[in-house]
Symmetry: C2
């Protein structure tokens, strides 16, 4: 059973989903959150659908055991290939992915109907954003240009946000999109909002669509309409109420978490997902 | 009487409030909007409270006559000096100003509790943002640094967004804030989001708080909780449903409107507010 006091569950393959959690905290600071990062099995991007679905099911079950009132799949790979699995396991708990709200936002933001999508190889080859955009815009002529940017995740994770090499790499990925005259880019990976400055430097004419931001407002609306938001506190909340769960504690966990969230985090709980070895 | 199908009313002293309307359309594209710009009496910034209150009352009455379900005072001057007047005239219709949501967002965004506020002279000398921030954060030590940036409105209105002179002027306004080590800046004027690139160039370490964005999410939540949002259309909406009303049609109206909103607008209706001359 859940109520308006229940926490919001956010699930990611790793630490990047904290950039999505950050957007939720911006607009819903009084809520409490359970963040689950499957850091022992990250990344999901190159794994088969069958395995991603299995891992997703295990994560959903964990979040349900914590009594969440809604689940956010912050991982774009999960959102692209395992959203139906997540919804099946979540039962009467709503599951919000990264793709639906961002696809609509990109369509509305574009004036010339030329939209760029950037993401990991797995997200781009799933065509999930492109398919969703084409579904919504059935009447209109839309040009979608997709580009996998596989170096962006390691650039963010190595803290090379302002390194000259990062600009060279970003130019190589983004100039083909610029030549196609796109006016809107979907940041289709949890890590990419940290590279916004670089992307805007190379394509200043493009509006950047942050999938996490749009998922947050989408979830806010859904919870509000169901009367499931807790009353905003009158007291100023400096430190949001978040419990962190991870399946492994990587070496640079705290530094990464601070980069994605913008503040220092509490010690995470280390849990096991999947079958126990006997 | 109003219902979920009623329009959202947005009121500004001029055209700048279209930057606020833009934020509403981002998150609530299926709603219909009435935009009222008092272009015959703009700007309000140097007028007395008595006159701003009178003009506000007249605008509220006009929006009520259009059957709106909520009213947004997009003008920071009105939000700072005439919000109570607006609420008195609006009766049972909620009125959302620019200051409340943005003040809370600034507090949450800041990690070092050093917050910059920029706005017109009128907004800055009203201390409305600073007072609100201090109200919310009663327990904490917060340093607020306010700076009037009177040239920013004409820079935006003259389309000098990337002119080298604009950077020189922006540096003069913003370097004192930078020296105070602020990590968050409230864009306390409808025109300033168009200068975000310039502000971030000079103070890249600061998070920018867009008052219109936070007012939009605040209103979204309020309407959703009252069951007053219309059901999102399944059809993709390229052109939002907006009726424009102005008290004068300035020479460069269409160009300005496109800059603030991001797309071409329909012909506005020209109306008269205040006492008729006989």
């Amino acid at each position: 059973m859940f109520s308006k006091e229940s926490p919001i569950g956010v699930f990611d393959s790793g630490i990047g989903g904290l950039s999505v959690l950050k957007q939720f905290i911006r607009f819903l600071p009084s809520e409490s959150y359970i963040y689950l990062g499957d850091t022992a099995r990250v990344p999901y991007g190159n794994k088969s659908s069958r395995i991603v679905e299995q891992y997703t099911a295990e994560s959903i079950e964990f979040l349900l055991s914590k009594g969440v009132k809604i689940i956010i799949t912050a991982c774009n790979t999960v959102s692209a290939v395992a959203l139906e699995t997540a919804r099946k396991y979540a039962g009467n708990i709503d599951v919000i992915g990264m793709i639906e709200a961002a696809a609509g936002a990109a369509l509305r933001a574009s004036r010339n109907n030329k939209i760029g999508i950037i993401g990991t190889r797995a997200t781009i080859s799933s065509n999930a954003y492109e398919n969703r955009i084409r579904d919504i815009s059935s009447q209109s002529q839309i040009d979608v240009f997709s580009k996998a940017c596989p170096m962006f995740v390691p650039i963010v994770e190595e803290g090379m946000l302002r390194h000259p090499a990062s600009k060279l790499i970003a130019e190589e990925y983004l100039l083909p999109l610029k030549e196609n005259n796109i006016d809107t880019i979907v940041l289709g990976c949890t890590h990419y909002p940290l590279l916004s400055h670089l992307i805007s430097e190379i394509i200043p004419e493009a509006a950047l669509i942050d999938s996490g931001e749009h998922a947050a407002v989408f979830a806010l609306r859904m919870l509000a309409e169901k009367g499931l938001l807790i009353d905003p506190s009158d007291e100023f909340i400096q430190k949001p109420d978040i419990q962190f769960f991870v399946t492994d504690l990587p070496a640079n966990f705290y530094e990464q978490a601070r980069n994605f969230l913008g503040f220092e985090i509490n010690e995470p709980n280390i849990i096991h997902l999947g079958k126990e070895h006997s």
